[in-house]
């Protein structure tokens, strides 16, 4: 992964997820942050802090980004994206915030 094409997403606990720019843009919120309309730090450094999102939730969100990339327009059977009940509430809030 070359640095230009990746984004660092930082959870509430300070854990970093380095993912592809393309995957991060599955979230409309992140896409806007990284575009020219976003603040300088985010678009310049390719780094976004999410003080409201805990590490396991952010991990699950990243998994969804790749799930979406993998299966959009797929002609094969698409497996369901499973959610553990204990994370459901936080994930609901996160996905609402991230517009995903």
């Amino acid at each position: 992964m070359s640095k230009e094409n990746t984004v660092r997403l930082i959870s509430a606990e300070g854990f970093e997820f380095v993912i592809d720019y393309e995957a991060a843009c599955v979230s409309n919120t992140i896409k806007n942050m990284l575009s020219s309309q976003g603040s300088f730090t985010e678009s310049e450094l390719g780094e976004i802090k999410f003080p409201e999102i805990s590490t396991p939730i952010l991990e699950k969100v990243c998994q969804y980004f790749y799930y979406k990339l993998r299966y959009t327009n797929s002609t094969h059977d698409i497996p369901p994206f499973d959610i553990a009940p204990e994370y459901a509430l936080e994930l609901l809030m996160a996905s609402n915030y991230l517009d995903t």
Partner: protein, 588 residues
């Protein structure tokens, strides 16, 4: 026409419309009629999909958003719900969870209470099985904007009274809420922000004299369809200056003189007077409606005077004169209405000479000539009407020569040729109509030989061969139609061999009618159970028995089954009902 005729009759009686008109209103959904209920009654998924597909045609397949996945998770784990969980979720997401629960019919009195005080703005509850008065107690708040409770028949005046807490309502439908009385409707007087109101088949409306409408100045849409006791009161509509759509169909006791109150409604674009007793004098009162686009006078006792008058509605795009007894020479004048997109002249007795005068209707997309006096002599008109998408020539004298004029109607999607005099060679003219989705060939002279011509029509989703002389060997051709969802084959010529070797391979089928084929036995049933998408199945007059019926317990999508005149016991049928959760209608 056999079944399609009886189907039409049932739809006609129960819904207050003919099948043709129904189709027109629904924007071109197939006339399957498999569940003969009112026109808004639950339809097979095939109809909904048809609409969804036509809306989303060409769009790529989209994965659900993570938010949708989460909301579906919440809606699916209802047992873990409690108020504390919901307290943490913002109201706009609660609305989304509510919507999914409605869609899945998972709401009950216990769960509905959880949504009280959470500012639900939209509650589209029509046809939900258990809606009771206490539901409205929970849901009616100042924030409520849209409430659909049509066909929620347990509701009473007490529940309706809760609407006094929802004065911001903009949309309300109460169709077929038969327990509501005149007193209950009093609450409507306060709902002055309504933009859309539907009170179909609420007989108590007649007793109110419509006084509740007086202050609804924002009203855009009003339906009083089938309010058969309504006789007067239209003066209360006179001030509704924004009204665009008005349905007074089947208000059979409405006085013709009441029409005078409508003349000032200049915004009116759509007016349905189907089967009202409106005469020429009544129609003449409508002169002020300059913006009218859609007018139905079907079954009204009008004469040529009304037709002359209708010619003044220069912007009219849709005209329904079904069952009107107007001499054909006057109907011919409609050829001047060049804006027309759809024209229904079914059962008017229109002749070839009349039809030939319609050559100016270049915008016409839908034409219904059911049971008119049309023969091959009138068919050359179709060289002019090249934008036609839907054409009904059922029960006319049209034969093979006339059908050849249809060969160039490249936009045709729906064609009904039932009970015409066509034979197999007519199908040669249809073989290039690649856009055809619905085709009705219910006529005795169509045989296996002709069906070979249809295999190129790969967009066909509904094929009606009810009375056509089709046998097992004709099924070879039918099974090549890769998008076929609805099929009727009731000639008596289909046997177990055809079901086992051919029909069982048409895996796209949603609705299948094999009635009157008395050579179908239990041997067919394991093969029919392979048609996993099947929602409607008719095996009336076949030789199936109790033992065979249990073989289809795998058809989990089945909504309706008809097995009249079969040797079946009550127990077998009841057992099937417990095994198939969606099964609603069963005819034994």
């Amino acid at each position: 026409m056999g079944a399609s005729c009886s189907k039409r009759l049932i739809a006609y009686i129960l819904s207050g419309r003919s099948a043709g008109e129904e189709r027109e209103q629904q924007g071109g959904v197939p006339d399957l009629g498999a569940v003969p209920l009112s026109f808004k009654a639950r339809r097979l998924s095939i109809d909904n999909k048809e609409e969804a597909e036509s809306r989303g045609r060409g769009k790529e397949k989209v994965l659900p958003d993570l938010l949708d996945v989460c909301i579906a998770h919440f809606a699916g784990s209802l047992d873990n719900f409690d108020a504390r969980v919901l307290d943490q979720i913002p109201n706009e997401l609660i609305q989304k969870i509510f919507d999914v629960l409605v869609e899945r019919e998972r709401l009950e009195s216990g769960t509905i209470a959880l949504f009280g005080g959470r500012d639900i703005t939209h509650a589209r509850l029509a046809y939900q099985p258990n809606v009771k008065d206490d539901w409205l107690q929970s849901l009616c708040s100042r924030e409520l904007r849209v409430l659909h409770i049509s066909h929620c028949r347990q509701l009473t005046d007490f529940g309706l009274h809760q609407l006094s807490h929802s004065l911001n309502l903009t949309e309300l439908s109460l169709d077929c809420c038969f327990n509501i009385t005149r007193e209950g409707l009093e609450v409507l007087k306060g709902l002055t922000r309504l933009r859309s109101l539907s009170l179909e088949a609420c007989d108590c409306v007649g007793k109110t004299g419509l006084s509740f409408l007086r202050n609804m100045a924002d009203l855009r849409e009003l339906s009083l369809d089938m309010c058969s006791e309504l006789t007067h009161g239209l003066e209360n509509l006179a001030g509704l200056g924004k009204l665009e759509r008005l349905n007074l169909g089947w208000c059979i006791n409405l006085r013709s003189s009441e029409m005078r109150h409508l003349r000032g409604l200049e915004s009116l674009k759509e007016l349905h007077l189907t089967r009202c007793s409106i005469n020429d004098q009544g129609v003449k009162q409508l002169g002020g409606l300059k913006n009218l686009r859609n007018l139905s006078l079907a079954g009204c006792p009008i004469t040529e005077e009304s037709v002359e008058f209708v010619l003044n509605f220069k912007r009219l795009q849709h005209l329904n004169l079904e069952w009107c007894s107007v001499p054909s020479v006057y109907l011919a004048k409609l050829g001047r209405m060049t804006e027309l997109r759809s024209l229904n002249l079914a059962y008017t007795g229109a002749t070839d000479a009349c039809l030939l005068k319609l050559f100016g209707l270049r915008n016409l997309e839908s034409l219904n000539l059911d049971s008119c006096k049309i023969t091959d002599d009138g068919m050359s008109i179709f060289t002019y009407l090249e934008n036609l998408k839907s054409l009904n020539l059922s029960d006319t004298g049209v034969g093979n020569v006339g059908i050849s004029y249809l060969a160039k109607l490249a936009n045709l999607e729906e064609l009904n040729l039932s009970y015409t005099t066509i034979t197999d060679s007519a199908l040669e003219s249809l073989k290039d109509l690649r856009g055809l989705r619905l085709l009705n060939l219910d006529t005795r002279h169509i045989t296996d030989t002709g069906l070979a011509k249809l295999v190129g029509l790969q967009n066909l989703s509904a094929l009606d061969l009810f009375g056509a002389k089709v046998t097992d060997s004709g099924l070879r051709h039918i099974k090549q139609l890769k998008n076929l969802k609805a099929l009727e084959l009731c000639s008596g010529g289909i046997t177990d061999f055809g079901v086992i070797n051919h029909i069982s391979q048409i895996s796209t089928l949603v609705s299948l009618n094999l009635a009157q084929n008395h050579r179908i036995t239990d041997a067919s049933l394991p093969y029919l159970s392979r048609l996993s998408k099947l929602e409607s199945l008719n095996l009336t007059h076949s030789r199936i028995t109790n033992l065979g019926l249990q073989q289809i317990s795998g058809l989990k999508n089945l909504v309706s089954i008809s097995v009249y005149n079969c040797k079946l016991g009550k127990n077998a049928v009841e057992k099937l009902q417990t095994q198939l959760p969606k099964l609603q209608s069963i005819g034994v």
